[in-house]
Symmetry: C2
Subunit: 187 residues, 2 copies
């Protein structure tokens, strides 16, 4: 049941946004009452938090591995593979990424809550740290940031534009495109 609530909440948070979605909306679509939801989640915020943790789970391993690399050179070399992995993940978990893209301020305010994870656990902070590493040339860091934005932006903001393109083909086109970003500038 907990899972069904999360599924419906995910749908509605994408359709209407987190704030415009009341617990009654979720309950009605499930055919239960509002109070039933409170048996599974103490607060409405906890539903959002759970969805947030799923994004963390998706990105954690890849990011930890990247951050464990000691030299800037090693990190730069590993970046293209990370982006390729990200493309797969966004395509495979479109809705989790979508709900984040469409409710950024709601998700960010989860951090205000004391129950939230420690700062070092936060995914965005980890990314920021990597992109701030002064040992990596600024030009390269800008390209890395662009690559991130390109993948997430293209596959979420305009996802419906390429809705009829098979996942495999879309992934290949994305990889080809973004590779020109992460690779060193052409002569």
């Amino acid at each position: 049941m907990r899972e069904r609530i999360l599924d419906v909440a995910l749908e509605l948070f994408i359709e209407q946004g987190y704030d415009k979605t009341s617990l009654r909306d979720i309950a009605e679509r499930l055919g239960v009452t509002k109070a039933a939801i409170y048996y599974h989640f103490e607060r409405k915020e906890d539903i959002l938090l759970e969805l947030h943790l799923r994004l963390h789970a998706i990105g954690r391993d890849a990011l930890d591995e990247l951050e464990s690399l000691q030299t800037a050179e090693a990190q730069m070399a590993a970046w293209p593979a990370l982006i390729d992995g990200l493309i797969e993940q966004v395509i495979a978990n479109r809705e989790i990424f979508l709900v984040h893209v469409r409710n950024r301020s709601a998700f960010e305010q989860l951090g205000d809550d004391p129950r939230h994870l420690a700062e070092q656990d936060d995914l965005e902070d980890q990314v920021r740290r990597l992109l701030s590493n002064p040992d990596i040339p600024l030009a390269q860091r800008v390209r890395m940031t662009c690559a991130l934005g390109a993948v997430v932006g293209a596959l979420t903001s305009a996802s419906n534009v390429f809705a009829d393109v098979p996942d495999d083909e879309l992934a290949k086109l994305m990889r080809d495109a973004v590779r020109d970003l992460t690779a060193p500038p052409r002569p």
Copy 2:
């Protein structure tokens, strides 16, 4: 005064999000009461709508010009210049883009309102139409979409990472990076 309200609203909508920002929050920061705001705006939504129109104004000319080009070839050729222009605009109007990126669902639901602009006026629809043009090869459209995502994503989501980079330098780095996306694939 209307302008001061919009300035403060812009700040708060970025900091806390549109839904978590009450009219009392805005009024307090201005040193007035809630009722004073209602003299300048009929509804809270109208404040958001006004901010939305500012984004439209920024992008309209460039997009209209692009859409007026008749052939797909001409449109493809004009794209790199459009992206360069976008880089300048995002840097010059960071906050307007920021408030949109952080409150996507709120802005999208402005469309549900009958007072909203006609569908053909909507900026995102216009972009979608361009990116859906079947006369442009799919691979190129994917690259165009990536370029858009890269510019907006890199300059908003991670804006603070490059906060101490001068605007001019950042713009140049962005142009260099994204050019490899819009240009034809390398051999």
